[in-house]
């Protein structure tokens, strides 16, 4: 029970920081990625610099890109969920076996 409360408050704190960041940050910018701002800074420091290599494959359009990002998250979350579920069920099975013994 105590563990559940701790876990819930951890989750609540993480969500709260997310919301605060969304509210405060919204007044300062449009949440552009830092990776692309970095390339902007490079161009500001060294206006003559030209990237000397291009990505081998560039997704055709933002929709395909966000789809691939979602796929990456889904694959990862699926494996994490499977592992946690397996661990939990194994432990329950052991607990039941111990209780019967």
């Amino acid at each position: 029970m105590r563990r559940a409360i701790i876990n819930l408050s951890l989750l609540a704190a993480a969500v709260a920081i997310f919301v605060v960041a969304l509210l405060l940050g919204g007044q300062r910018g449009d949440f552009g990625g830092t990776d692309s701002s970095a390339t902007g800074s490079i161009e500001a420091i060294d206006p003559g610099y030209r990237p000397w290599f291009q990505p081998l494959w560039q997704q055709p359009g933002g929709e395909v890109e966000s789809g691939l990002f979602a796929l990456q998250a889904a694959l990862g979350a699926g494996v994490v969920g499977f592992a946690l579920g397996s661990f939990r069920e194994r432990r329950r099975a052991r607990a039941a076996a111990d209780a019967d013994a």
Binding site: G33, T34, T39, F53, A73, L84, A99
Partner: protein, 243 residues
């Protein structure tokens, strides 16, 4: 922290790649060794790799008005030691470089050095230093530092490659730190909180694997007798009986 394709001068790109190769090779060997000596830890290894895969796909907003993504490498570094994360992190970065045009092949070495080497080692170092702190505090700090250190490393790499014409390395470093590290602070805190959550779940469900890997042994918790908090609750036994 992904330095975009072609955005490091050839000499820098080559140097970072050369630096990353031994770390990745060592990491691959460590994975083989770990799975050979602890075959039961394979599922856990997959889980920490997948965890980094998820987190680096998510871009979170920050108070600075930009968004950036967490790294998810601290947890794996604590459980499996940092070399293993050098190999797992490289897989994540390669996937993003090839399929998402995020980062790149020429900058892969530099990105591996920040996300898969500097971050995990910094986090692991903090975890070991906080040996006498409550373990959840140690995990939180380690995970947050692993995230933040990644971006400090990226800023350093960019400042070395692009020193400011007037202020030199330091001025440029300050500029990139202001861009990356400031944005990253709230994200690192969020990642730390979620990291403690994940480790809470692993401690209650994956006790045998954690003990096998020696987790908690350096903190004076006798691994053979079980890690506090992983004992079976009475109500959970009841629940299992009825299931």
């Amino acid at each position: 922290m992904h330095i975009a394709e072609g955005f490091l001068p050839p000499l820098h790109a080559a140097a970072w790649t050369a630096a990353a190769v031994p770390f990745v090779a060592h990491g691959v060997r460590e994975i083989k060794r770990t799975t050979a000596t602890h075959p039961e830890s394979k599922l856990l290894l997959g889980a920490v790799g997948a965890y980094s895969f998820v987190l680096s796909a998510i871009k979170l907003p920050s108070v600075t008005g930009s968004s950036s993504h967490p790294t998810g490498t601290g947890e794996g570094a604590i459980l499996f030691r940092p070399p293993v994360m050098a190999a797992l992190g490289s897989v994540v970065l390669l996937f993003q470089a090839l399929l998402l045009a995020h980062g790149g092949l020429t900058t892969l070495g530099a990105n591996i050095m920040s996300m898969a080497v500097a971050g995990p080692w910094a986090g692991y170092g903090v975890y070991r230093l906080l040996r006498f702190a409550p373990w959840s505090v140690a995990i939180f700090c380690a995970v947050a530092v692993a995230d933040l250190a990644t971006y400090v490393m990226t800023s350093t790499q960019l400042a070395l490659a692009f020193p400011d014409p007037q202020g030199g390395f330091l001025a440029s470093w300050e500029r990139f730190l202001g861009l990356f590290a400031l944005t990253q602070i709230p994200l690192a805190i969020v990642e730390g909180l979620v990291g403690v959550l994940l480790m809470n779940a692993l401690r209650s469900w994956a006790g045998p694997e954690l003990r096998g890997l020696g987790f908690g042994a350096d903190r004076g918790e006798e691994p053979e007798l079980g890690i506090p908090g992983t004992e079976v609750d009475g109500d959970e036994v009841e629940e299992a009986r009825h299931a």
